[in-house]
Amino acid sequence: MSKTRVPVREQCPKKRVTNFEEVCLGYSLEEATQEASRCLNCKNAKCVGDCPVSINIPGFISHVKKGEIAEAAKVIAEASALPAVCGRVCPQESQCEGKCILGIKGEAVAIGKLERFVADWARENNVDTAQVEPKNGKKVAVIGSGPAGLTCAGDLARKGYEVTIFEALHEPGGVLVYGIPEFRLPKETVVKSEIENLKKMGVAIETNVVIGKTVTIDQLLDEEGFEAVFIGSGAGLPKFMGIPGENANGVFSANEFLTRNNLMKAFKEDYSTPIKAGKKVAVVGGGNVAMDAARTAARLGAETHIVYRRSESELPARVEEVHHAKEEGIIFDVLTNPTQVIIDDKGWVSGLRCIKMELGEPDASGRRKPVEVPNSEFVMDVDTVIMSLGTSPNPLISSTTVGLETNKWQCIVADEETGLTSRERVFAGGDAVTGAATVILAMGAGKKAAKAIDEMLMGKK
């Protein structure tokens, strides 16, 4: 058996920085069965334990080995509603694949790539994995259509609930549509079709409804006949650094930049929303969001720098994303911290003053704390700055729902096992509870809440 995985085909870096099509092309059936055959079908499969939704990984892979892709899809569907998404964006190296036994002496099984293959194949071949129980006449409201909301809605619909998702934006999907770019997660083929599947199960989606503004949670419960509410409103509020010049024209949050490009499709000529990428862009931050913003700016034609205050080994972004960004010509200026945005006489960005950093003593998180190198200030010649410093939950819902407890980071306080909040019949999960995290964790929270809501409404507990 091979110690290395079957390589996956990708668009060549030179070509892909000129388009927004998907970078990774995925396995063929032949490649997938070959990769699947590396799996040892472990009895006590460690990989499953580190998948937040506990997909029966050896189970689905053994079907792939035999070429039974529809069966594989059904095994995955028992645990996950969004396999085509997770197969693409899960940080697999630190989850399922991180625990794969083959990883000890060689390369872990490419679980994510296999999951993606199965999901794509099932979609292309119209495999129906949805099994819906008869309607039970009970109404549940879900707030937000990101991975947490979609998963919660899907699980409840399958159990016969009448579910309505309320989404503030004009398009459902949450970060999957406004944040993560097309070249990592195709919107039409992947995201839309996962959402279509939910609709087929009877989930209603009302877009343009901002809970807390258009209608409140209390109104949903008291006036509209919903018996329970799940809040999956994410963590969308962007942070800024608070340095001088940050309100200059040409300074954007990553959310703004990505939303213009992804949700509003500014990269397409015939869409009305404008975007300005400039000629030289500094993206401040080192996470997945920063990589996405940088790779988007590069595709819009800019020379793009990642400016990050720690060292390269501390970049919080997924290894694959950093690797792809480098292949695409993104310049990494690590151990560098901005101190001021320099503004020209018309109010536009004309440079970014930075200071060099070095690693000092470990801090509370165990990472070595970056400290400033004295007299090392310099000016980066850029005309655009994109701040990618993280996000926190938006107070729209907590400020309009009496008795909904939040913590000092504005996160909604919810029980870890059930998602129950301080308000009766109100559950929450995903980034709204944890702060910015991952797709699969949000899905896991949506699942747990769906189970708890079902138990509550059926009087099982």
Binding site: K213, F240, S272
Partner: protein, 296 residues
């Protein structure tokens, strides 16, 4: 889909539309705005709520044609649909939380510039209906550009009109009218100004001298309108605020208008920026939401 049930042209470039949007109509309050998106390829356009009818399930907007999107919007007819209409967004005007009897003791004057008269209308309506008597100064380029004058009068408000060319009412700027009223003994407790940024800036400058509480309504560039992108950030006092969730109304004495005006012009093309420069130097500012009123 959100159907247009009425359309009227109020002035050469100003249109009123009544849209079927029952959820928004039910919860809208004076001071709030909506975001409309015309179709799949359209941008998200923020517009102030000008009127609402919960029973009928409709919301009225008034917009001025400025660029691509608003020009396109003016082509829509009664019976056509907008694909998206989200709201109500932002905070309602502060006074709706105040005690009515206390409000009746106050003397409130609205200063409305150009299409900014539209967002003033629901506020005047709300107050007059609660029995709070208010004054309104409407400023516009000329007679043709004065909107909602009769509607405001019908509500019982005392209306003063001023135009740049004197073709309707006083000849000159809204600030001159306001100053005149104050100097002649009007004891205003609260000035609420909505119009072009430059007008609001000068109203705030004037009222600062008289130490009168002043509220203005900002219209920065927005994308989502829910606090997610930060495009709408403005400096108020020493703080950064997101106009879409913290505003759009702010204390006029604390707003950094120069920064706000600069940011509002961010997506103007190089050519458009040149036009703006030219307009500024000839003292004819027409940019921004509520353009159409000269100043300085």
């Amino acid at each position: 889909m959100y159907k247009i049930v009425e359309k009227r042209q109020l002035a050469p470039q100003i249109y009123l539309m009544e849209i079927e949007a029952p959820r928004v109509a039910k919860s809208a309050k004076p001071g709030q705005f909506i975001i409309v998106k015309m179709d799949e390829k359209g941008e998200r356009i923020p517009l102030t709520v000008c009127d609402y009818n919960a029973a009928k399930g409709t919301v009225t907007i008034v917009f001025q044609t400025l660029g691509k999107s608003t020009l396109e919007m003016a082509e829509y007819q009664v019976g056509d649909n907008f694909s998206d209409f989200a709201g109500p967004l932002g905070q309602a005007s502060e006074f709706i939380h105040e005690d009515i009897e206390a409000l009746k003791q106050q003397k409130i004057v609205f200063v409305a510039g150009g299409v900014g008269t539209a967002p003033v209308y629901p506020q005047v309506k709300w107050l007059q209906q609660q029995g709070v008597q208010v004054d309104v100064i409407i400023g516009a380029r000329n007679k043709e550009m004065v909107i909602l004058e009769d509607e405001m009068k019908a509500l019982g408000a005392t209306v003063y009109v001023t135009t740049d060319d004197g073709s309707n009412g006083h000849k000159g700027l809204v600030t001159e009218v306001l100053k005149g009223l104050i100097d002649n003994g009007a004891q205003y407790d609260h000035v609420i100004a909505i119009g072009p940024m430059i007008m609001m800036k000068f109203v705030a400058k004037l009222t600062k001298e008289y130490n009168i509480k002043t509220t203005i309504s900002l219209n920065p560039i927005m994308v989502d309108g829910t606090g997610m992108c930060g495009a709408c950030r403005v400096t108020v006092g020493s703080e950064i605020k997101f106009a879409c969730v913290d505003g759009p109304e702010f204390d006029g004495h604390l707003v950094d208008f120069d920064e706000a005006m600069r940011r509002q012009a961010m997506y103007k093309t190089e050519e458009g920026r040149a036009v703006l420069e030219a307009e500024k130097s000839s003292h004819k500012h027409t940019g921004g939401c509520c353009g159409g009123h000269h100043h300085e």
